[in-house]
Amino acid sequence: MTDSQTKSAADTARVSQMSVVGRFFKATELDTRMLGMIGALLLIWILFDVFSGGLFLTPRNLWNLSVQTASVAVMATGMVLVIVTRNIDLSVGSILGFVGMIMAVTQAEVLPAIIGFDNPFTWLIALLVGIAVGAAIGALHGYIIAYLGVPAFIVTLGGLLVWRGAAWWVTSGRTVAPMDSTFRLMGGGPSGSVGAMASWIVGLIACVAIVAMIVSARRQRKRFKFPLRPVWAETILAAVGCILVLGAIYIVNIYYWPVGIVRKYIAANNLEVSETELLIAHGVAIPVLIAILVCIVMTFMATRTRFGRYVFALGGNPEAAALAGINTRWVTMKIFIIMGVLCAIAAAISTARLNAATNAQGTLDELLTIAAAVIGGTSLAGGVGTIAGAMIGAVVMQSLQSGMVLLGLDTPLQNIVVGIVLVIAVWLDSLYRKSQI
């Protein structure tokens, strides 16, 4: 008891010397690095908005941005685990291409012959086949890396070539289209979005979850008499979280269906309204919901489970992890299996969005995925990284790309800018880390 009293006295003394800003960060325990990243993202958005004459920060563009980010964001969450354990995966784009092709062939050519066209289970079977293939590829990579001791760089460099070649080989280079109508919902678009009402419900559930998490963490800490955050700090965190969520929902809910699609909808339902009067909101796109769900599951896995703890310990000190009795090889193999599954989910999203599978699909996605993870604060030296950071990193990468398209920049110039931004971001991050320790 005396210990905790002297400690809190010392803490108060330290806190009173800090500025208002310092006190705020101390009390809320916010990750300043993450805030910096969000700040940089907002800056990018505002700059693009100014230079494009207000085209960037529109509900339509932000909605599109969210859909375009989904596929890379899903893979980036897995890349965090891979990079945290000092590995790399150069093959994710090729796996995406190959698995996308497998799923397309399954639903467009194999299943119709067995269960007929437009079977309500076609999408599910295709998706499960894809996930199984992705997991198998990941398991193969993981086995070679963890048990045969071939460096991940080499194994996945080989995988980059092998799976790209395999994607071509499945249909001899032919593009497969169209996709099953239910499967296509995973790609977004007006029908692949959940609409206004469902979006508000999702938003409210998220708000309840935010508050519940803060309350339960506080109760836990109280149970063990740990130092608590001040109530005002908790309240601010909950309020900001809820406002952000509801704000995002509001934005996707004021992006309405295009007139052409509304016209078709009116015709199909024999409605007596003019096409300009009927405003149907998109709401949150299904691929975005998938990506958010993946983010939540992966964050849970990384921070709340034994497996996640082992991943970080392994990245921080592989020898210590092994001496602590952790089966480091199996952990490594599991990481690559997860990566394979996430590639399959990303392949479903991008195949559905394109309504086709091509053998070039996902080309260079491995670099976007690695860049998203690294910009999101994952250290290539291992041991450090967050799933949420990688998601924001993916949004940053996609914002740059679509912003430059809006500005009408030539493709070569776009690549030059993305490359420079990547290097500067990692440099700034290393400066930040040095200042921390």
Binding site: D3, K7, Q220, R221, R223, F224, F226, F300, T303, R304, T305, R306, G308, R309, Y310, F312, A313, L314, G315, G316, N317, E319, A320, A321, A322, L323, A324, G325, I326, G383, V384, I437
Partner: protein, 262 residues
């Protein structure tokens, strides 16, 4: 102290051998340890003492020999097996995962779980605060990754991890190499406390001054073999130094296979 020999040894490592690429790092080596006893394993760098204790802690697999614990043969194929026998090790490198916090390191590989099967971080932190409070009362940096801690604090984390799970056999590999005088004294106090609790301790060191006063017995190794065993009450520091450097066994010691014939 003389009554110890009457009881059954806690650990009996018999004729242990291991080689790496044709080099016999440990060659036909036998050491034993009794409850409440401190045995110092001495020798130059590369004498094989760290390798020998790593076989006991499950980090290496022996190529020949037998390990008995409480008189029956023990199967130790990995660190997890060793921990199941109550063997805890404080490695020279400390073997901490630098990027996670104190509680995560203390429970690494043996995490406490909630009834949902998720990590019970709060319970682990509570226990960490309790154990660290005993070892190092001023320590308060529970939220920081251990790489942010000082050398002495890191050492306390490694020691706390070893005593957290009711160890019966403790291996300390150069436990005070990175410590200042005050912290070294703390570790010495701790060793005496643990010894009084009936824990058997192997102290591995290349520096006789560190361990001579703490140890009940010494076992000196040279080139992977045991030069000899001796009770610290029956030999002098200089004689033990002679064993380490020259491999010569003094009259008070029992010669091993590595002793130079005199």
């Amino acid at each position: 102290m003389n009554t110890i020999t009457d009881t059954q040894p806690l650990v009996d490592m018999k004729n242990i051998s291991i080689s790496f690429g044709g080099i016999h790092a440990v060659d036909d080596t036998s050491v034993d340890l009794f409850p409440g006893e401190v045995v110092a394993l001495l020798g130059h760098n590369g004498a094989g003492k760290s390798t020998l204790v790593k076989i006991l802690s499950g980090a290496y697999q022996r190529s020949a020999g037998e390990i008995q614990i409480d008189g029956s043969e023990a199967v130790i194929n990995n660190p997890r097996d060793a921990k199941a026998y109550g063997i805890e090790t404080i490695y020279q490198t400390l073997a901490l995962a630098d990027n996670v916090d104190t509680a995560a390191n203390l429970y690494l590989g043996r995490e406490l779980l909630t009834s949902w099967g998720t990590l019970d971080d709060v319970a682990m932190e509570a226990k960490a605060r309790e154990v660290m409070g005993r070892l190092n009362p001023r320590f308060q940096r529970f939220k920081e990754p251990v790489k942010a801690l000082s050398g002495g604090q890191r050492q306390s984390v490694a020691i706390a991890r070893a005593i957290l799970f009711n160890a019966r056999i403790l291996i300390m590999d150069e436990p005070t190499a990175a410590l200042g005088p005050e912290e070294t004294a703390q570790v010495s106090d701790l060793i005496l406390k643990l010894k009084a609790d009936g824990i058997g301790i192997f102290l591995v060191s290349h520096d006789i001054a560190d361990v001579f006063d703490l140890a009940d017995r010494v076992a000196v190794m040279k080139n992977g073999q045991v030069v000899g065993h001796a009770r610290t009450s029956e030999v002098t520091k200089d004689e033990v130094l002679g064993m380490i450097i020259l491999g010569k066994c003094p009259p008070g010691a029992t010669p091993g296979p590595g002793a130079v014939p005199s």
